[in-house]
């Protein structure tokens, strides 16, 4: 399957990328292409210009400074998964990255592309929201709480570029997800982090509006980060996705179960 015709550009600087995107109404950014290219092959998207962001040095690099782990937007999932810096700072984040798709896709797909796309079943949005990350763009810094604005929708303005994602290093964090047996995307994923401002619980794969925080579980787990703290607490099926993989009640049950598993697996990712 061929995508429609387009012209390919590979800028070396943010300034160059910004002037390219301003020069053509049909231009779009590309990183790993693992979401964009399949959509283009199906002619669901027919951009006239592809601006490949991977040649821009600002979008690369992994570092820790002042209790914050920063990952460049163009970093592929495989690099995050195998990074010693990420593994020692936030092991659950490295494990989450290593659970995305398959090795081939992980060698191409990037954290910036995943976060900008905000697929309701994607993994990274739950880590960004659960850890209270800051999404740094060419123009500003956006807290994760304001960044994810609904299914496939974010606070990014047209032509705005995710440059890096800054994750405050938590006391501990864990991730658990239940995958669809066909697509391997999350049907429910729960990222539970013990942060300076209490425990945060971010749920992916289930909500009608994409990734969200489960405040009832957060309150209980802030009191005590133990599985028993969740006894008697169950996710509500209101606003859960329903599709051929499962109805709202089933998804709610999975969210409850995955959250318990994320609590039990701090420092790791538990993949079902």
């Amino acid at each position: 399957m061929y995508p429609s015709e387009f012209s390919y550009k590979r800028p070396k600087t943010l300034a160059e990328a910004l002037s390219l995107i301003a020069s053509d109404d049909g231009a779009v950014f590309m990183s790993g292409g693992m979401t964009l290219l399949p959509a283009m092959k199906h002619r669901l998207q027919e951009p006239s210009m592809l601006i490949d962001l991977r040649g821009i040095a600002d979008l690369h690099g992994i570092s820790v400074e002042g209790g914050v782990l920063t990952i460049g937007a163009a970093t592929p999932h495989a690099e995050v998964a195998s990074s010693d810096v990420v593994k020692s700072a936030i092991p659950a984040l490295a494990a989450l990255a290593g659970s995305i798709a398959d090795p081939q896709v992980r060698n191409m797909g990037t954290i910036g592309g995943s976060i900008a796309n905000n697929d309701p079943s994607a993994d990274y949005p739950s880590a960004a929201l659960g850890l209270g990350a800051t999404i740094v763009t060419n123009a500003r810094s956006i807290p994760a709480d304001d960044f994810f604005t609904g299914m496939f929708s974010t606070a990014l303005e047209p032509g705005e570029i995710v440059v890096k994602v800054a994750f405050p290093i938590p006391a501990s964090a864990g991730y658990a997800k239940f995958r669809s047996q066909a697509s391997r995307y999350a049907m429910a994923g729960s990222f539970v982090a013990k942060t300076g401002s209490g425990v945060r619980v971010a749920i992916t794969g289930s909500g009608n509006d994409g990734v969200y925080r489960w405040s009832e579980a957060e309150a209980a787990l802030t009191a005590a980060l133990t599985e028993t703290a969740l006894d008697g607490i169950t996710a509500s099926p209101d606003d859960m996705m329903e599709d051929m993989h499962g109805d709202a009640a089933y998804r709610a049950a999975l969210v409850t179960r995955m959250t318990r598993l994320a609590v039990a697996n701090q420092g790791a990712a538990h993949i079902v």
Binding site: Y8, L37, P38, D52, A78, P103, Q104
Partner: protein, 165 residues
């Protein structure tokens, strides 16, 4: 049209291509290297897997134009000096193929598994890391055995150059 220059199986090639040309098409149609198969064409089956700078990727979902200066290894580039690569040899021994359609991609992904883990693999890990490759014939048992064999050879130093450069 854009001129792209890259190294494929150790040889530098330079071609004028449409920007939308996918790596799988570039290999099969432009270079006539038809060992790389296209199964699903939707980034799922892994039949099109090749090594890009030593790492497995699905060539049906990579733009050739983005690969200026890159190194690509296809199934045709694995055998050296008339000798099959150990992974090809073990696939044959272990009956790890039947129709053979998934095989080129499976072998390239398998080489990646051994390389990424320096040969330190378990059966569970091999199965997990071949998740991006679908085989409709074999039931995977022979494939997993072949990868375990090569991983052991790698650990024992019997495979020096797993990924050709």
């Amino acid at each position: 049209m854009t001129t792209v220059t890259l190294t494929v199986n150790g040889q530098e090639v330079s071609r004028d291509i449409e920007d939308r040309t996918l790596l799988a098409q570039f290999l099969r149609d432009t270079l006539r290297l038809t060992g790389t198969h296209v199964g699903c064409d939707t980034t799922q089956c892994g039949a099109c897997t090749v090594l890009l700078n030593g790492k497995p990727v699905k060539s049906c979902t990579v733009l050739a134009v983005s690969l200026d200066g890159a190194k690509v290894t296809t199934i045709e580039g694995l055998a050296a000096n008339g000798q099959l690569h150990p992974m090809q040899e073990r696939f044959r021994e272990r009956h790890a193929l039947q129709c053979g359609f998934c095989t080129p991609g499976m072998v390239m992904a398998a080489v990646g598994v051994v390389e990424r883990n320096n040969g330190n693999v378990t059966e569970e890990l091999v199965r997990e890391q071949l998740e991006g490759n679908i085989c409709r014939c074999t039931g995977y048992a022979g494939i997993v055995e072949a990868v375990m064999d090569v991983a052991e050879m790698y650990r024992d130093g019997k495979v020096s150059q797993n990924v050709p450069v």
